[in-house]
Amino acid sequence: MTPKEYKDQLIGQYTEFKAAQNGRANSDFQKQGEQFAQSLGQLDFPTKRHEEWKYTTLDRVLKKWPKPVFKSAPIDHFWLAQNGISGIQTVKVILANGILDRFDKLPAGVTLEAYSLGNQVEVAPTDATDIFENINRAFAVDSIKIKVAANTVVPIPIKIVNVLDATHEAVFAQRNVEIEVGKNAEVTFIERQITKGPNTSLANGLTHIKVDNNAQVKHLVLQNDGDNASQVNRTYVDQNRDSVYSNYVFSLSGEVIRNNLRISLNAENTVGNMYGLYLLDGKEHVDNHTVVDHRLPNCESNELYKGVLNGYSTGVFNGKIFVRQDAQKTNAYQQNRNLLISDHATINTKPQLEIWADDVKCSHGCTVGQLDEEQLFYLRSRGIDTNSARALMIYAFASEIVEKQPVEALKEYLFNAISKKLAFNLE
């Protein structure tokens, strides 16, 4: 099945989808959805000719005909607990196929609304030219909004887990999350997707995060789903004055992963941080597209993405920094570093800088390399065998990003996941 045929089938299924929404079709949310469904006719899945999709294709996923999900699926909570992150206390918000399933008691100052709870959730403006956003808005059964009130310091991380049910068939699920963090508030979010069952899953996430004055938001994205699990994510971050937003994305397993992260520094004295680690093997594909938009003076952005690519895996990094004319005294740093540890792995990396202001400090760069032979010999000459020496060096390379993420209790989990992936053990 070609992407075009897939899209045509998708449009054809909209009527069925609408009928399954139990008379809620007259809500604003669904009315808007219908408009997005209608405009799908004019849009196509991107091909290699599309500049933003030059190296990433979902063809191999769409070929499996992942069926759009119309409803929630019962969650096997025992299984979920077994596959969860142990040793870390969180406030859990659990979605099933993108639809709110249940959530823990929320800390003071935190509220949750959902379309499925009967709330009218207002979704931030959508890019109508983007097919994934259109599909998301057209086929989203639910939309979840989490608000953190001004001056609230949320003591433990809020974890948003999306459970996809691919037990019986290949599935395509939409996840729609809106986050608003009030003035002076501090909060950490952990986002994760997990698929149950052997079939293909594709999750299409759309997340808007508003960070108000002087708020501090840390946002961890854990991508360690199964071999047949794919995801396309769009995350929009809008920052107000004096705020700090930090994004940490760990892509440790999955079939095809495409992340689009866009941070808009909309006011003075804001800081946006983007850190990523991708560890790929087999035929895995991970594509990180990031944009940071410096609009006003005295803002800072820091970006470091590191990748280790083994087997026949392919990776893409595309990072854009915009510094607009008004954004004097900008500090913007961007780095993408890659280790290719197999002769068959590929990375396409493109750091981009567009500067219209004249009084700025900006740097960007990328490296693609192999393990250093001198370092390997040095380690071996001290009694460490070749495999362990290689592992030690890869581990050291990756650990920089693990150390940057703020949740202490998550370090061990991440290091274990890395060790498992690299198939070695370190004391």
Binding site: S381, G383, I384, D385, T386, S399, E427
Partner: protein, 252 residues
């Protein structure tokens, strides 16, 4: 302990070692001197097992084992240690974790259990003190951002941790000021005993005032052309290498 017989080694077709013979017994310190390009560092690299070299002839026995058959890691675990001329930086690997991995690899090789954490901690502190390394350095990445002197002290620290039978020091003294030289030499002297041995490769006689050798060998054009006691080093310092070259050149 170490018995090198007629060792020939080449790199990319150029023969660099052209028949080295050397016997090192436990408790001895041998100094190897010689002009630039004579093959000193090649000898050290060949012994440590760097695979850029082709051994065309000869043998190396290390405590009864055919050294040339062993991988670099096996040589280390059997008790050979090379202090590098240019120690590399390994960002992200802390000195502590590095040493833990080395020591436990060696112990495993000899059928021993991993070292207990408190023993390891005690040892690492003692050995760091031996070469005057600030304990803070243990948390830093291996050699990253170290000064030249710190890197060389770290080599001797690692040697102290691994307690080798044979330590080979490849120009450990080059680029060191006199204070650092003393620290490094004191470290080596503290490790000397009747069971281990050292091969000290150097350009400068100065080092041998601090690490006093039992034998001095002159390596020239890939061969040991002269051997003597420590007075040979003094003679070389005074007269340079030309007189040896002349001795070797047949009269026209």
């Amino acid at each position: 302990m170490l018995s090198i017989k007629d060792l020939h080694a080449s790199v990319e077709g150029n023969e660099i070692l052209k028949g080295i013979n050397l016997e090192v017994k436990p408790g001895e310190v041998h100094a190897i001197m010689g002009p630039n390009g004579s093959g000193k560092s090649t000898l050290a690299s060949v012994l440590a097992g760097r695979d850029d070299y082709e051994i065309s002839q000869g043998s190396v026995q290390f405590d009864g084992i055919d050294l040339l058959e062993l991988s670099p890691e096996e040589r280390s675990r059997e008790g050979l240690f090379l202090a590098f001329q240019y120690p590399v930086e390994i960002p992200g690997v802390s000195n502590t974790n590095f040493m833990k991995a080395c020591i436990n690899a060696k112990r495993k090789h000899h059928g021993q259990d991993p070292m207990k954490p408190h023993e390891f901690l005690k040892m690492i502190k003692e050995k760091a003190a031996l070469v005057d390394l600030d304990p803070q350095f243990l948390h830093r990445s291996v050699n990253e951002g170290f000064s030249g002197g710190e890197k060389k002290r770290n080599e001797i620290f690692q040697m102290a941790m691994l307690e080798p039978k044979l330590g080979i020091l490849d120009e450990t003294d080059s680029g060191l000021d006199i204070d650092a030289l003393k620290v490094v030499s004191n470290g080596v002297n503290a490790l000397r005993n009747e069971k281990n041995a050292f091969v000290v490769i150097t350009h400068y006689q100065r080092l041998l005032n601090y690490i006093v050798p039992d034998f001095v060998h002159v390596l020239y054009k890939g061969k040991i052309v002269k051997s003597g006691d420590k007075s040979l080093a003094l003679e070389l310092e005074e007269k340079g290498y030309d007189w040896i070259k002349e001795e070797l050149t047949p009269a026209q």
